[in-house]
């Protein structure tokens, strides 16, 4: 469970690991945007090359990426099948009621599949090479302009980092409560839907109670340590923008320019 929520950060010292989290976050978003510019197989090959290149620069095991796709495989197949059977054009191979299997349908299905997989690979690359806290930091920095419209950016980012910090603690606690309830005869993950829902209640109630207690303790401790809101605090953790970050951004922009060209091939 924890693994899904937190991504799967794999520590390492590759160029990608050492990049500024802001750069990685921006590039991930940028990639998701430019992938919608792709419209022919040449452009997908180009983006695939970029993805593979980034993965190789990160020096992480490729198996992680396959694992990243797996939980979403049904969603992907569903969307791909919709594309295949509901788009028409080109040679029609087969027709039945509203469904038809056409040349364009097949092509579109293949494109949608590639789009999904590439986006998942890139976002997996982000979470594999960037600690959750660094992502939270990057979000804070990138959200700074929102301060002008009174968005409590510091508070949001502190909330995010505390939430991330407490995930493993609450996981442990959940496991403990589950064991305690099991020993009292509660069966988890058995029976019909109603029974399963019922079995979750004796898990959630103690978990909520303890979370509220923890929250109160934490608030007291934070206040005792001089916390009085995000304004005017200094920062211990800083991120530096290196040449490699600029290079990374340049590579992505160049790929976009080539992409704009390849589109009209």
């Amino acid at each position: 469970m924890g693994k899904v929520l937190l991504g799967r950060y794999v520590p390492g010292d590759s160029i990608v690991h050492q990049m500024d989290p802001r750069a990685k976050l921006i590039l991930s978003f940028f990639f998701i945007i430019i992938i919608f510019l792709a419209n022919n197989w040449q452009s997908y090959v180009l983006l695939l090359t970029l993805t593979i290149g980034s993965i190789m620069a990160a020096k992480v095991n490729f198996a992680f990426f396959i694992k990243g796709v797996r939980p979403l495989i049904w969603l992907i197949l569903f969307t791909v099948l919709l594309q295949i059977f509901f788009s028409s054009g080109g040679t029609i191979f087969w027709r039945w009621g509203p469904f038809n299997l056409s040349y364009f349908g097949l092509i579109n299905g293949a494109y949608v599949f590639c789009r999904f997989v590439l986006i998942i690979f890139m976002s997996t690359l982000l979470t594999l090479t960037t600690a959750p806290l660094e992502i939270a930091d990057a979000l804070e920095k990138l959200m700074m302009p929102l301060k002008k419209i009174k968005v409590p950016v510091y508070e949001i980012s502190l909330m995010l980092s505390i939430a991330l910090r407490f995930v493993p603690t609450l996981m442990d606690e959940t496991a403990k409560i589950m064991n305690a309830q099991r020993s009292r005869g509660v069966n988890f993950g058995e029976g019909n839907i109603m029974q399963q829902i019922k079995s979750v209640v004796p898990l959630l109630v103690p978990l909520f109670v303890s979370s509220f207690n923890r929250a109160e303790d934490l608030a007291t401790a934070m206040e005792a340590r001089g916390y009085r809101g995000g304004e005017g605090r200094t920062k211990y953790r800083v991120h530096y923008w290196h040449t490699s970050d600029t290079t990374g951004c340049a590579v992505f922009v160049i790929v976009m320019l080539i992409l704009l060209f390849v589109r009209h091939w």
Binding site: R165, R214, D217, T220, R225, T234, Y236
Partner: protein, 277 residues
């Protein structure tokens, strides 16, 4: 000089009927190590929270290091006091060890260059520097409390308050924490208030205050307080092991010294007794 002075304190929790403190008075001297003991619900945590300005009294006067506690001075007062609470997990704010130590420094708007130095020094003090990049899940309870202490040390307070800070630790972790406190008190002359159920911890203090329903029922040196077995049981505390052993020895017809003996003192005395025979 009095480091802390509590005068005519009156306090009850909102929506509560009974008063936790009704005309309560206490003075703590500079450099003193004061242990507060008393059964659960006697108001120990409430008292230290009032001193730290985390709760506001109905009336009365609290002075910390010469500053009178008011809504305007509460942050100044808090900067003089470092607090360590009971549950090691629920006071760990940072994502990892060094971040957590830095949390208080960030709040105090200490420049980053100085933060780096202070975090390292504080973590070295408590022997946790090599764990600087560890997340809290990878630490034992005792290690987390040492990190909490480092957070306190980094802020250079004048007073350290421990609210049952060792009660959830194993004996080893407890010893490590107490050793640091001991050093802070004896070497750097910080004023220490430790709330505890552990007699061995309390007997390290110079003075013990026994609290019962918001009243000081005893205020003395540890040796005096812990030699009255009946009294200890009345306030819900186990007599120290050495006292229980003494009692058993008396039953066996062995003459024992009258004064309170610490565990170490007891061991020495037993060896003397043994070598005489």
């Amino acid at each position: 000089m009095d480091m802390i002075e509590v005068k005519n304190l009156i306090f009850k929790y909102p929506q509560q009927e009974v008063y936790n403190f009704n005309n309560f008075n206490l003075k703590v001297k500079k450099g003193e190590w004061l242990a507060i003991i008393g059964h659960n619900g006697s108001g120990k945590s409430t008292l230290v929270r009032l001193i730290d300005g985390l709760l506001a009294p109905e009336s009365g006067e609290i002075t910390v290091s010469g500053i009178k506690l008011t809504p305007e001075t509460v942050w100044d007062v808090r900067s003089k006091i470092g607090m360590v609470f009971q549950n090691p997990d629920n006071q760990f704010v940072g994502a990892n060890v060094e971040d957590d130590v830095a949390f208080g420094l960030e709040n105090a708007a200490i420049p980053r260059e100085e933060m780096l130095i202070r975090v390292k020094q504080a973590l070295e003090r408590v022997g946790m520097w090599k764990f600087a990049d560890h997340e809290p899940v990878r630490l034992s309870g005792g290690q987390k409390q040492r990190v909490a202490l480092a957070g306190v040390i980094a802020l250079k307070p004048e007073i350290v308050i421990l609210d049952e800070a060792t009660s959830m630790l194993d004996p080893e972790g407890r010893l490590a924490v107490l050793e640091i406190i001991h050093e802070l008190n004896r070497v750097e002359h910080l004023t220490v208030i430790s709330i505890t159920h552990d007699i061995d911890e309390a007997s390290k203090a110079q003075r013990v205050v026994v609290l019962d329903d918001g009243k000081v029922v005893q205020d003395d040196i540890p040796a005096e307080i812990f030699s009255h077995r009946a009294g200890l049981i009345k306030i819900g505390l186990e007599p120290p092991f050495s006292e229980k052993l003494k009692e058993e020895l008396i039953k066996q017809g062995i003459k024992v010294p009258d004064e309170y003996l610490t565990k170490e003192g007891m061991v020495d005395w037993l060896w003397q007794l043994f070598s005489k025979q």
